[in-house]
């Protein structure tokens, strides 16, 4: 393994300008009207996420948690290699559906985001958007070494090393990549945690929103989306 070049310093001067179509500007509509638009403001709600309070009655909260634990709907977003081991879970051989787990195509319908391994900066941006669009209470599970401490891409210029810097992670599954059986074990563990009321990732995200945003913006240089979109 080559030693690190001590003299190398990353370029801090250059910034990425906002894309043309996202800048506030005047446009002419098809019917001839001239209007001012500001795409990043017009289309999104900018309100920051809020902490979701627990129910006043513990028994009600327990009931909620029981229900949540038994309907883990996973966002079908294969962010990295580990996604290939999720496919067998959707088929009769491993049949994750029997545990109340299923995959949904859109963030709106899902409450569990699986980060399947490494995240390149480009995908991190999409993962953040997907996460923020999901309905709470929502959970994040990190698959494999890459989400824990960078994995085998620890020296890559394009992948993050610690997922918990950018998204609140509820559970990690070791492996490169974890087998379907290990994933199922992870889901069972997640269910236990949810039932015990210990999966407070979404609230953690809301509480530490500023920190998360700062971390995200430190690596995503062309931040061309609103701070929170849901």
């Amino acid at each position: 393994m080559k030693d690190v070049d001590d003299k190398f310093l990353k370029n801090l001067d250059r910034t990425v300008p906002l894309r043309e179509e996202l800048r506030p500007r005047k446009v002419t509509t098809p019917d001839g009207q001239e209007i001012e638009i500001e795409p990043l403001k017009d289309y999104f709600c900018e309100a920051a996420p809020k902490v979701h309070a627990k129910s006043y009655f513990p028994i009600v909260e327990d009931f909620y948690n029981w229900a949540r634990a038994n309907s883990l709907w996973i966002l079908g977003f294969g962010t990295g290699c580990g996604a290939i081991e999720m496919r067998p879970l959707m088929t009769p051989r491993f049949d994750a559906y029997r545990y109340g787990i299923q995959w949904r195509p859109t963030p709106r319908q899902s409450n569990l985001l699986m980060i399947s391994g490494y995240l390149s900066v480009k995908t991190l941006k999409r993962a953040i958007r997907a996460y923020e669009q999901m309905q709470g209470p929502k959970y994040v599970v990190g698959l494999g070494s890459c989400t824990i401490n960078g994995g085998m891409y620890w020296d890559s210029y394009n992948t993050i090393k610690r997922l918990d810097q950018y998204l609140p992670v509820d559970l990690y599954i070791a492996g490169c990549m974890p087998r379907p059986e290990a994933l199922l074990a992870g889901f069972m563990e997640l269910k236990k945690l949810i039932k015990a009321g210990k999966c407070e990732g979404a609230n953690k995200y809301a509480e530490n929103f500023a920190t998360y945003k700062a971390n995200q913006k430190s690596v995503i240089k062309d931040w061309d989306m609103p701070d929170y979109n849901w």
Binding site: M1, A83, T91, R93, S120, K122, T123, D155
Partner: protein
Amino acid sequence: MFSFKPDRSQYPAPGPDGKLQIDLETGKYLKLWQGPNHPGITGNMSVELTVCGDEVVEGKTHVGYLHRGFEKLMERRTFIQVFPIVCRVCVPEPDFNEYCYAAAVEDLAGIEAPEYAQWMRTLILEMGRFNSYMMFLGGIGGALGLGITGQWMTYVRDLMLDRFEELTGARIYHMFILPGGVRGHLPEGFEGRMEEVLDTAERYLADIDRVMFSNSVFKTRTKGVGVIDPALFEPYGVTGPNARAGGVAKDLRKDSPYLVYDQLDFEVATATDSDIFARATVRRADVQTSIDLIRQILKKMPKTGPAMAKIPNVLHWKIPRGETYIKGECSRGEYGYYLVTDGTGYPRRINVRGPSYTHAMALLEHLIPGTNISDVAALMVSLHTYPPEIER
């Protein structure tokens, strides 16, 4: 047949050069992103479609969501340290990376892998090809709403993964083909268990024939759709089954035999129509070839023999200056490693030539205009591209 005939009467007038002038602000055109988080996309990539009505008038492939900078990382690693990371370049068929890299290193270092290792490598590559085609056959059905093929083929692929697991010690990233040979020998009773898997696979494939290839819906939606003019094969670098579906029997296993393919008996499957259906049938026939080849290899391969050639101490392995290109026929076409060494213990440059690179970028962008939105997914799957090998 019900072929897609867009109604262009409502389209904005083309420019003086006859080309479409796409101005989004006219409201006639719409940008539609398919991917990266989209059920109709292969892996983690995206296609930026410009649609007018339900006709796609422009498509741009966007990649880089899986970019890890492999070619840079390889330059930081010693020759043995590159070995574990190469397989990650292509997730569904990782073995080709291992083979091409190992063979490239052997070529420049002047090492010859032992005969047993050559046979074993061929076996692994064919098993990997089989798996890759299982992904394809599942995917092409899925792209057209035929969910059952995905269920069946994933199951069969899983059985093959079990064989991979007992042979190589891993399910997906096998890391079995080392520069200098392979890591081990066949486990006891492997042939019998493999035969069971192949039998099961053939049964399921017969069902696939009935449920997919003889299915009027499937035929209607794939025949005559996404035709690649064979004249485009060379300019667009089309190789593998995509070219074979257009009647060009391009197959490096025959054209430029590597490993022990010259000692194996097989035919190259071709088709003539060069449409989605033809590309699917070619691959269907190729699965059968792979099954036959696996049987042949297990029968013909030596029972014992050294698995590894003598290699220098890998901790400070230096390879003299040189460059080489090693290629092989993977399930998608020509896969190759271009390796440049400079006499140090690290590669100077490694370039991975994945077939998806040309198929998913230039070719797909060329094919998309004029198709229906609903066909884009099937068109993309029919090219059989794996995003991680595009951006590496």
